[in-house]
């Protein structure tokens, strides 16, 4: 029940048709199965989250559905914990990870990334509570386990606090972004740190319960994760580039209100290759 194929992309947005030359780039196993197994942590609205019946939706999903259609296969979304996705790709259970992965050099040691978006990090706090991300020493900051915010960004800020002789940031780790966001809404945490599209979406949806804290920083590319050296990477890259070129990429981002971070050139492993 958990592995339901995503609904076909709507006719108006992201409609794409099979491109035989791109399809030929697919690894044989995917070609014969006709399905790409995708790992996704569906707690990261609007990038990827769940519809009322529990299926993965979001602009990442829409975008990858379009990629799959270009490649002439279906995408099967496996809802997973964020920190289990990359190991499942290296282990061969998933073909791809579509879950707003920030492309980092560290992660590139494990998988290849097809970069498809440029996102920053944005903090949010409860409405009426001013938080300065560059001086958050001693505050409680909610993050999702396994994200760059948990592993790199907030720890770095906390280390700076300690260096300056101030109290460290108390990092609250949650199993999903939804829990982290709700911790701020409830007041359990003083602020949250997440990718800019997520924070912006949460602020918009929270009905005035959240406000942005500071501005977007640490802009970095998102990447679709595939096994190292897999030809799937090239296939996805080419398919995405085709979507950019024919305008359907833009259409999908615009529909979800996240066109700001759209790219014009699709690359692989931007973190290492610059």
């Amino acid at each position: 029940v958990n592995n339901t194929p995503a609904p076909a992309p709507t006719a108006t947005v992201g409609a794409s048709t099979k491109d035989a030359t791109l399809a030929s780039l697919l690894p044989a196993s995917i070609k014969s199965a006709g399905v790409i197994q995708v790992g996704v942590d569906a707690t990261y609205a609007p990038n990827e989250y769940k519809d009322p019946s529990g299926n993965a939706i979001g602009w990442d999903i829409d975008l990858f559905n379009a990629v799959a259609a270009k490649l002439g296969v279906k995408a099967n979304y496996n809802i997973a914990g964020f920190d289990t996705i990359i190991p499942n790709i290296t282990g061969g259970k998933y073909d791809a990870g579509v879950s707003s992965f920030t492309d980092t050099a560290e992660r590139e040691k494990q998988v290849d990334f097809v970069n498809y978006y440029s996102a920053g990090i944005l903090w949010a706090s409860a409405a009426g509570k001013t938080v300065d991300p560059s001086n958050a020493c001693g505050l409680k900051v909610a993050v999702e386990s396994g994200t760059t915010e948990q592993q790199d960004e907030v720890p770095a800020k906390s280390a700076a606090c300690v260096k300056a002789g101030k109290k460290p940031i108390q990092i609250l780790k949650y199993d999903g972004q939804d829990l982290a966001t709700n911790a701020v809404v409830l007041g359990q945490a003083d602020a949250m740190s997440a990718d800019s599209p997520i924070t912006e979406y949460a602020i918009a949806k929270s009905g005035g319960k959240l406000q942005a804290a500071g501005t977007t920083t640490d802009v970095a590319p998102y990447g679709i994760a595939v096994a190292k050296g897999s030809t799937l990477g090239t296939a996805v890259q080419k398919a995405l580039q085709a979507l950019v070129d024919d305008g359907s990429y833009k259409a999908i981002l615009t529909k979800w209100g996240v066109a700001d971070g759209g790219l014009t050139t699709i690359t692989i492993n931007a973190a290492a290759n610059g």
Binding site: V1, N2, N3, Q37, A42, T43, A45, Y49, K50, P52, S53, G54, N78, I79, A80, G81, T84, P87, N88, G91, G92, K93, D175, G176, D178, L179, T181, N182, V185, L186, K205, S206, G207, K209
Partner: protein
């Protein structure tokens, strides 16, 4: 001289109801427990105050609680939780029986393997086990049945064959089997050895004496903890998010709160459903226990039965 004064009844005939010339019935002043009663009143007031406060406290968002209590997604998730519970308990019961037979066997290989199984599964957290089952297909991409060191007879890809639902059920069942095995074993050992001997002495086989005599009696000891395990399993399903499987009651209530930003009332909704389901199970267990105690509870030689002997009899 000790003697019965006024033997005012003809011996041999039962006394008339109520007794003739009844002695004055004692209407004594009852003993009071002033301190205890004061504490009880204070506790009761606190308890009511707590409930009153909770019912008006904003943080609980009772309006949202009520709105989602019967939300179709929540009730569907409750059904999934029940499915998980029933399936994994059923599989666990079969495994547990097998393990018990192995543990009671006189063959050391059977006993060791069963012991090892129980040791591993009781020694690690079920949450961690569930995470393991989630990555099973990474460790064993294909499962092969056949003789060891020879080409496999059957082989299938675990990733395709086992959905997360199946893995959740499997993980819960394998863990539970270790606990149920202990319960079944204790139940069988609790039956008076004389019962099996009497059966054997009548010429019954070991199997017959087990099935007809020992196991029916062990049920009285097995049923209560198994009922507890069933109830406990219903709650343990809240951990299947570790697999990750996310259509159970807790996960779905979390999904809704992710949209609505109201985790507290949705936690209350989930808790209410859990409480309701476990309460139904507890009531069921009560009646089941009563049924299986039939004819057994006071089965002991007359002498012992005449005087109420253990507290349980005196109280329950």
């Amino acid at each position: 001289m000790a003697h019965a004064e006024r033997p005012d009844r003809a011996a041999g005939s039962p006394p008339p109801p109520g007794g003739t010339a009844p002695a004055e019935v004692i209407k004594a002043v009852r003993l009071r427990h002033p301190v205890r009663n004061l504490i009880a009143v204070v506790l009761a007031v606190y308890f009511v105050a707590f409930l009153w406060d909770a019912s008006t406290r904003k943080a609980f968002q009772w309006d949202i609680y009520i709105k989602y209590l019967f939300d179709q997604r929540i009730s569907a998730a409750a059904l999934v939780t029940i499915e998980l519970t029933v399936l994994s308990m059923a599989i666990a019961a079969v495994l547990a029986l097998l393990l018990t037979v192995m543990r009671l066997s006189s063959n050391p290989v059977f006993r060791s393997i069963a012991w090892f199984y129980v040791w591993i599964f009781r020694g690690t957290p079920v949450y961690v086990q569930l995470v393991f089952w989630g990555v099973l297909s990474l460790i064993y991409p294909t499962l092969q049945l056949g003789l060891p060191f020879l080409p496999p007879v059957i082989s299938f890809a675990t990733g395709q064959a086992l959905s997360f639902f199946a893995l959740a059920v499997l993980g819960l069942a394998l863990n539970e089997a270790a606990y149920l095995a202990e319960i079944v074993r204790a139940g069988i050992l609790s039956v008076d050895r004389g019962q099996e001997e009497a059966a054997i002495a009548l010429g019954m086989s070991w199997g017959q004496s087990m099935w007809r005599i020992v196991i029916p009696q062990s049920m009285r000891v097995i049923i209560p903890p198994t009922g507890n395990e069933f109830i406990s399993m219903l709650k343990t399903t809240s951990l299947v998010t570790a697999v990750p499987f996310s259509l159970d009651l807790y996960a779905r209530s979390r999904d809704i709160s992710a949209e609505t930003f109201t985790p507290i009332p949705l936690l209350l909704d989930a808790s209410t459903w859990y409480l309701f389901m476990t309460s139904v199970l507890m009531v069921g267990q009560y009646f089941l226990e009563k049924r299986f105690a039939r004819g057994i509870s006071s089965a002991r030689p007359e002498k012992a039965a005449a005087a109420p002997d253990t507290r349980e009899e005196a109280i329950g």
